[in-house]
């Protein structure tokens, strides 16, 4: 079996992100930390689990991004992926989901992948589109929000359970090749091992310049960014930690929300 896992590199969500006067998203100067989109860790783990289950599986990790995105491929290989593919972008610019999906589809076309895994959503732009678009571009069946899967090799199919609302799952079977977008919690992603990381450093990812694959035309444009409005008072407590604790206690007592006298033990 040939598996492709799509991995996005995202800025560390703990890093400050601001909007400037022109309504553009800006990051403060200095060290921007990046890491693997967390949903994609689950996708990589799921691919490795399939590989460990047999089927003569190879796992390729693929990312579309600038130079520094190569780091997530190293991590994927550190976790046990066999190869890395880096579709190299020249600029840091925001890429639309269709653009990303088109690059991946152009690369994956006719490469004989049986299964393509993506994360359910990118943490930065929260679009949740690339996997479903990729499936459409390749003409593969697709299931999103997958929380369980089993390969049914003898039938050339995969059984999946999609997480839907209300604590329910929808069960379905998809013929291979197929695209699955993997929901967080499907497994427990492993840490990269040292030996795998050393191999990754030596092996190097295959680099494909994005312009060779040809970009799709943009179908939407981000015109401006702004801060969200407030729906409640949002009283920001001031002072040191202790001051805030005292103030919070006062407020909760006033709102009759805390009953210290009736405290449970």
């Amino acid at each position: 079996m040939k598996i492709l896992v799509c991995i996005k590199q995202v800025p560390d969500p703990e890093m400050p992100v601001r909007v400037d006067e022109q309504g553009r998203v800006v990051r403060p100067e200095g060290d921007l930390k990046y890491w693997m989109n967390r949903a994609d860790e689950f996708a990589v783990e799921e691919a490795i689990l399939i590989k460990e289950a047999g089927f003569g599986t190879t796992v390729d990790g693929l990312t579309v991004g600038p130079e520094h995105a190569a780091q997530v491929l190293e991590r994927a290989m550190g976790m046990g992926a066999d190869n890395g593919v880096h579709i190299l972008l020249q600029e840091e610019d925001f890429l639309s989901p269709l653009n990303t999906a088109s690059y991946i589809a152009a690369y994956a076309l006719n490469k004989g992948y049986d299964l393509i895994l993506t994360g359910v959503m990118g943490e930065d732009h929260m679009q949740g589109q690339v996997g479903a678009m990729l499936a459409e571009l390749l003409g593969f069946p697709c299931a999103t929000s997958v929380i369980f899967e089993r390969i049914r090799d003898e039938r050339g199919a995969v059984y999946v359970e999609r997480e839907i609302e209300g604590g329910l799952r929808a069960a379905l079977e998809l013929d291979l090749p197929a695209v699955l977008t993997v929901q967080t919690g499907i497994n427990k992603p492993r840490y990269p091992t040292l030996s795998n990381l050393l191999r990754a450093k030596k092996q190097k990812a295959l680099v494909v310049e994005s312009h060779i694959l040809g970009a799709a035309k943009d179908r939407e444009k981000v015109v401006r960014a702004c801060y969200p409005g407030k729906s409640r008072a949002g009283l920001m407590l001031e002072g040191c930690g202790k001051d805030k604790a005292v103030r919070l206690l006062e407020i909760l007592e006033k709102e009759a929300l805390l009953f210290c006298g009736q405290q449970r033990e």
Binding site: P16, V17, P97, L98, A105, E123, D124, H125, M126, Q127, G128, A132, M133, A135, E136, L137, G139, P141, C142, A143, T144, R162, I164, E165, G167, R169, A170, L172, L174, K188, G214, K217, D218, R219, E220, K221, V223, R224, A225, C226, P228, S231, A233, G234, L235, M236, L237, K242, K244, V246, L248, L249, L252, E255, L257, L258, F259, C260, G261, Q263
Partner: protein, 347 residues
């Protein structure tokens, strides 16, 4: 059809008012339209204020008459029901096929889908097939006289992006709860409902039914106070701190965000949000939770919200009554200490 190049070029967006329509894809549960369907109507109404167009609805399912009739009567929109025996369970493949057949004939400028696990499954692929713009997670719309832009959250809700669609048609998935469901319009005379029968089958996917797996946790619904742990608690050990905080309140329970449950720090049935429980306790204390939309939809109806986060720009602060920008591992012990001191002290 699969194609790597978008087939339609960027358009100047001159809408043909007479011909074009806003098409709503209804979502139904056991044959009844879900509330989100009427929220889509509200957005359609807002779009119509900028671009007057007719509103149409499409209902897909194995039994569509009742829902189609209900939507027609409630909204006055013209409704097309597509009845297919293979749609007892939702099928993304069949949805895309059937919608791709009927939509072009309806000249949609906007196709509105709800941002549920179902809508998210078929909308992006449908947009590709239609050569349309695709915007997910829409929670607002603005019109400056020239451009109709749609807003959506990014960066865990810290920033809102306004997005301009560039194609002739746009598929939007709309955040549930972002638009208030339209009050059923009783005066409108409903247009006759059209029902089309289809027997098309999906080629590469087979729906096998619905599985119920998580038991609901009654303690979440019954609690007056919920103390909720987010990824910001940092480790399994700190769950104890959240539990300690909860014991200060009578009729309280501990809840969590998705990552906390994913890591096994709390059981899944403690999860609050889109794919967890929807709660509305008197007091919700969010500890180390950023306030992503998928969490907010589950708890924003709480009576009083206190949020503790180290990030001064965390989105949770926008929906909180009281905001505490502190490290929870130091703040919570301080607060517990303060409660104990006060309890001992003179009344």
């Amino acid at each position: 059809m699969a194609s790597l190049e978008p087939s339609v070029s960027i358009n100047d967006k001159t809408f043909n008012i007479m011909k074009q329509a806003i098409v709503i894809i209804a979502e139904c549960r056991s044959g009844n339209p879900s509330p989100v369907t009427y929220e889509l109507m509200t957005l359609a109404e807002k779009i119509r204020q900028a671009h007057p167009m007719s509103v149409k609805a499409v209902v897909l399912g194995d039994e569509v008459e009742k829902a189609s009739q209900e939507i027609a009567e409630a909204t006055g929109a013209s409704v097309l029901g597509i009845q297919n025996p293979h749609l007892k369970y939702y099928s993304g493949e069949l949805y895309k096929d059937l919608l791709h057949q009927c939509l072009p004939g309806m000249n949609p400028a906007f196709v509105l889908v709800s941002q549920t696990t179902q809508g998210m499954d078929f909308a992006p692929g449908l947009a590709v097939r239609l050569g349309a713009s695709s915007i997910t997670g829409v929670n607002g719309v603005s019109w400056d006289g020239n451009n109709l832009c749609f807003s959506r959250d990014a960066y865990n809700g810290k920033i809102v992006l306004e997005i301009l669609p560039l194609m002739e048609a746009t598929v939007l998935t709309v955040q549930p709860g972002a638009f208030k469901a339209m009050k059923p319009e009783t005066t409108a005379t409903p247009e006759p409902v059209e029902i089309r029968l289809s027997t098309a089958e999906s080629r590469n996917t087979r729906s096998l039914g619905i599985i119920r797996c998580e038991q609901k946790d009654a303690s979440l619904a019954e609690a007056d106070v919920l103390v909720a742990a987010g990824r910001g608690i940092g480790s399994r050990e700190n769950v104890a701190l959240i539990e300690q905080l909860a014991t200060l309140f009578p009729r309280s329970a501990v809840a969590g965000s998705r990552p906390v449950c994913d890591s096994g720090w709390l059981e899944y049935k403690k999860q609050v949000g889109l794919t967890g429980a929807t709660v509305s306790p008197g007091l919700y204390v969010a500890c180390g939770i950023s306030g992503a939309m998928a969490h907010r939809v589950g708890m924003q109806g709480s009576g009083f919200i206190v949020a503790i986060s180290t990030d001064p720009n965390a989105a949770i602060f926008n929906i909180a009554d009281v905001c505490i920008c502190e490290d929870l591992t130091t703040f919570i012990p301080l607060f517990i200490e303060e409660c104990k001191r006060k309890k001992k002290g003179p009344v």
